[in-house]
């Protein structure tokens, strides 16, 4: 009986184990192996030796350093900004009754739209061509500024579009999570505070924020992780040759090393991926320890 039960349990698990074994556990081990194999050749599947050369190469590769810089700028700008904007919008949404559903629906749209599709629209809005300066420049012109090519132009302009688009893309999820967190706060707390004459700002700062702080930290942590893994947003705006556009990200670097015109170097790709993972892991740990100190219950 017992034996039969054991067998049955494993039988139910078998498909999942097979898939995970092949496509997750084995690759996980393998990526470390790759990262230490020096001079690996995809075609002949041979390598010279074992060591840290791949890491050294990646860390000295100007493309990687560019990607690292881009990714960090993107993270530092978009994570706090998107969280704050989402918070403001959610608080606003939570305070109204008419049209609330309509606003919520509209705000959620980017979540269900193909990132590459809207990215193309953004590119057109911001791109300056021989035929037109584009809509973004039209707006700039109203303020007497003028024309900048946001897609093929200066670095800061490209970074601005990337950050703007990234925020546009990540907001729906954050707004959704925060509005449901806000709706979950017992109305009695607000009534109690109102009766006690608490100012709106103090209610927000002393009651609302602490009450939803677990969700905010959750969003910050997942936001960091997501932003470090940014890639397809950049592709959507600047095309697949991100190195040429100076707009590559770490994940983009990994894929470029693996595939395409610059590809064929799984060892470098592995080393870069592991460096990325180490960075994300460290930041997540720091975030968690901060949140433990500041989330109260």
């Amino acid at each position: 009986m017992n034996k039969e039960n054991n067998l049955k349990g494993w039988l139910y698990l078998l498909p999942a184990l097979l898939f995970l074994g092949f496509f997750m556990v084995y690759p996980l081990v393998d990526v470390f192996v790759y990262s230490f194999e020096e001079g690996y050749n995809s075609a002949s599947q041979t390598f010279f030796g074992v060591g840290l050369y791949n890491y050294a190469y990646v860390l000295h590769d100007p493309y990687f350093l560019q990607a690292l810089k881009n990714t960090f700028i993107l993270v530092i700008i978009t994570v706090p900004l998107s969280t704050v904007i989402a918070l403001v919008i959610s608080v606003g949404l939570n305070s109204i009754a008419p049209l609330k559903k309509l606003y919520q629906t509209v705000y959620f749209l980017p979540y269900v739209t193909n990132t590459l599709a809207v990215g193309l629209v953004f590119m057109i809005l911001f791109k300056k061509t021989a035929y037109t300066d584009g809509l973004a420049n039209l707006v700039l012109a109203w303020f007497g500024r003028g024309p900048v090519d946001f897609i093929d132009g200066p670095y800061w302009a490209k970074m601005f579009v990337l950050c703007f688009y990234t925020i546009w893309v990540v907001l729906p999820f954050k707004i959704l999570i925060l509005t449901s967190a806000l709706a979950g706060v017992n109305q009695d707390y607000y009534n109690a505070a109102k009766v006690d004459g608490t100012s709106a700002w103090r209610i927000f700062y002393k009651i609302t924020l602490p009450m939803i702080s677990p969700m905010i930290f959750y969003l910050v942590i997942t936001g960091f992780i997501g932003a470090f893994k940014a890639y397809s947003d950049a592709v959507a705006l600047f095309g697949t040759n991100l190195n040429a556009a100076e707009m590559n990200t770490i994940v983009g670097y990994v894929y470029d090393m693996l595939y395409g015109d610059s590809g064929g170097y799984p060892s470098y790709a592995s080393a870069a991926a592991i460096i990325l993972f180490a960075v994300v892991f460290t930041i997540t740990m720091i975030n968690l320890s901060i949140s433990k100190k500041n989330v109260h219950y």
Binding site: N5, A16, F19, L20, M24, L93, V112, T132
Partner: protein, 289 residues
């Protein structure tokens, strides 16, 4: 005293009105920011090629809408093919995933066997592994098996998700033990119990998972891009990149926009129909790559 009270009442009312107005202005501003790209997408897609290129200053509306771009979207680039590929990919991947994760979640939640808890903790540890770390070897594996530019190559590595197994297991585990005992007394087999009792009870979670997976599949770009370079196997995301770089000639932006509209519509329509389910699902699932 009572005058004083009147004043307080009046100023409180004025403040409320002001706050309300500012709130609506703010919310409307962002709603327009969200909607504008969609509007621009639609608008550009109905402008004629000549009209569009003649506008040095882009026009915010058009008086001569045309559907010619939609015709060329389907005739000049294999848009229908990308579409069909994506549908096949989404349906098969999601279906296969359910076949794999439901029994696994059931085993973890309900069956008792040696090593279950150990394996489950290993599963949880796997949840922290980012896709980027394993995709390198998967690429090598699929290439090694000669599955590049094929549906198995696209689908197989996308099938399992530890997170969904976890989500489903948690839900299964909430079903009271008495139900299982009752079913056992009535002579119900484990498999029948799973399909007749547990799955119907956990339908909301299952729907959530399907919705999340469909969105994920429809928008997936990275893996398909790695394993396909033959346009015959492109999904919509790869299709957009292909159209952008090689389709229509580089500058036929209205035709590109028509393609983009066509690609965006199905998921948006699905969302508008199942609005509440999708939003509840996403907030319950609480994940985004």
């Amino acid at each position: 005293m009572s005058n004083n009270y009147d004043q307080i009442s009046r100023s409180a009312r004025a403040r409320r009105t002001a706050v309300r107005t500012i709130t609506y202005v703010l919310l409307t501003f962002w709603a327009l920011m969200v909607l504008f790209p969609y509007y621009w997408m639609l608008l550009t897609s109905v402008k004629g090629y000549g009209t569009y290129n003649a506008e040095y200053v882009p026009a915010f509306f058009t008086l001569t809408p045309t559907l010619e771009n939609y015709v060329s979207a389907f005739s000049e680039v294999p848009l229908a093919r990308y579409f069909l590929n994506t549908v096949v990919f989404t349906v098969v991947t999601t279906g296969l995933m359910m076949v794999v994760i439901v029994p696994a979640a059931f085993a973890f939640a309900r069956l008792e066997f040696k090593g279950r808890d150990l394996v489950f903790s290993l599963f949880l540890a796997l949840m922290m592994i980012p896709n980027e770390l394993v995709i390198i070897t998967n690429y090598q594996t699929i290439t090694g098996w000669g599955l590049r530019n094929s549906f198995p190559g696209l689908i197989l590595p996308s099938v399992t998700s530890v997170f969904y197994i976890y989500l489903l297991r948690e839900n299964f585990a909430q079903i009271p033990d008495e139900l299982y005992s009752a079913a056992k007394v009535d002579g119900t087999s484990d498999f029948k119990y799973l399909t007749r009792v547990m799955m119907p009870i956990c339908r909301p979670t299952i729907i959530t998972i399907v919705i999340l997976k469909v969105i994920e599949c429809w928008n997936s770009y990275v893996w398909p891009r790695l394993v396909t370079d033959d346009p015959a196997f492109f999904l919509v995301s790869g299709g957009i990149q292909e159209i952008r770089e090689n389709g229509f000639g580089r500058e036929n932006i209205p035709a590109m926009m028509a393609a983009v509209v066509v690609i965006s519509v199905p998921l948006i329509a699905l969302f508008l129909i199942f609005r509440n389910k999708v939003m509840a699902g996403v907030s319950r699932g609480g994940i985004k790559g």
